[in-house]
Symmetry: C2
């Protein structure tokens, strides 16, 4: 008989649907759930961003000449392109139907992370400072519950070489984000050579399986029982600087 | 009070340590665990590869001139470089201390996926045909248990733009691998535009959180309760063809 060695639970919470601008404290809401020590709480950036009020009314956007040009080239809505440009530090790659940028935060992703889905009306940008938001929410939850937790703010992104989107961690607090395991022993006592694990990204993908991308209505997921070291990891730890990236 | 909407379990199994060449039927071993309908069974490629006998004795490798050149350039062991070259269809990028290739299977990854960790002695290559192995194991488990399951063979890989490694699916059977959700409705009834989800990669990352990378000794993880459609997805579905990849 084969036995279990470890069991991790991934719990999707039932929450109201928000349009944005609601006066809601997300930490208070989450703290109503019986949080335990070591829980890792993953929150979809869409929820954070709506509550931050990062939803732009389309009627108020006047696309620049550059946005209109780029809209023609990509077949996108000029107003959406304007927001993408406003959110970008650099344009990384442009093609038919896509604009890949480096955002103001340093994330390389399609459309500067700008999205219209799961927003009632308008164009939604990414949270302004995901690491700060993660930290604030973590501290509030810890105060309200008396438990030590980790918080991750997640997004769904595409990537080179492979098709489809996966969950990544854009904001992190309370746990390690990039886990350096070099020097640890393998099963045969040999030291691992180059093993840096993007554990916060893996946790975000783990949560994303439960969140989904459509009308599941699950913007918050609790990961319980994962053996991830506490620490002061940041979403920024996972960004590969341009100078070190052979694919930029 | 906030309620749970869904709970997924991620269960790491207790298994023996294999050196390779053991005469073990992995499907029989896994089937000793009480498998349920809809379980997704994620297996580390390291385990599959060891049982396939894909471990090369270093003493038997004679590096070619090309391997010796590339070893100098990268600071790698010429014998390891020879195996990396043997496993590669194309060299994608070379630098100080790294060789990124497209493997014979079509995966773009560091060192053709060749690795020396968690192997007792020698250099381990990737499974020869991960989709076929996943299918064979799935069919055997279904026969032995009478349950419908999904099987994923996972590996840990690095990626552009972001630091650290994450779990991906190199072999898939019994479930969808690339989940096309275009046209499905969001929370406000609007159709999703471009949402293709690499669900098998997210499941592999989910499992990888439990597997770890060192001496955890957890090469098999059961994911129970995830709402992933059954289907005939393949690991190959997740490979972005070179012609469609703007970063190659
Ligand atoms: N209950 C609830 N769920 C939401 C809300 N906004 C988004 N979601 C859910 O959060 C999950 C992730 O949504 P998605 O649009 O993929 O967000 P992203 O990955 O952060 O860009 C999905 O299950 C959505 O249905 C909300 O206001 N309330
Ligand atoms: N019990 C057991 N665990 C193994 C064996 N080989 C690898 N593992 C474990 O499988 C997990 C993944 O190992 P890793 O080297 O990262 O494999 P990869 O991701 O497939 O390249 C870790 O928990 C290892 O300790 C084995 O023969 N027996
Ligand atoms: Mn998003
Ligand atoms: Mn998403
Ligand atoms: Mn491997
Ligand atoms: Mn691994």
């Amino acid at each position: 008989m084969i036995k279990e060695k470890i069991k991790v639970e991934v719990i999707g919470l039932e929450l109201p649907i928000f349009k944005g601008n609601e006066n809601v404290n997300i930490a208070e809401l989450i703290s109503q759930y019986p949080i335990e020590d070591g829980d890792i709480i993953v929150i979809a950036e869409t929820l954070i961003s709506k509550l931050e009020g990062n939803v732009i009314d389309k009627d108020k956007i006047i696309p620049s000449k550059e946005a209109i040009e780029l809209a023609k080239k990509t077949g996108k809505d000029p107003k959406v392109v304007q927001v993408i440009l406003d959110e970008a530090k650099e344009i990384v790659k442009v093609g038919k139907n896509f604009i890949i940028t480096e955002t103001k935060h340093g994330f390389v992703c399609a459309n500067s992370g700008v999205d219209e889905s799961n927003v009632s009306n308008g164009i939604k940008t990414l949270p302004k400072n995901p690491d700060e938001s993660a930290e604030k929410i973590r501290k509030d939850i810890e105060k309200l519950t008396g438990k030590k937790v980790g918080v991750i703010i997640s997004d769904s992104v595409g990537r080179p070489f492979r098709k489809g989107s996966v969950g990544i961690a854009i904001g992190v607090s309370g746990i390690i984000a990039l886990w350096d395991r070099k020097g640890e022993k393998d099963l045969f006592g040999r030291a691992l050579k180059t093993t840096e694990v993007a554990i916060a990204d893996e946790l975000a993908s783990m949560a994303n399986v439960v969140m989904g991308e459509a009308d599941e209505g699950i913007p918050v997921v609790i990961i319980r029982g994962a053996k991830v070291p506490l620490g002061d990891g940041k979403g920024k730890d996972l960004i590969r600087p341009k100078e070190e990236d052979v694919f930029r």
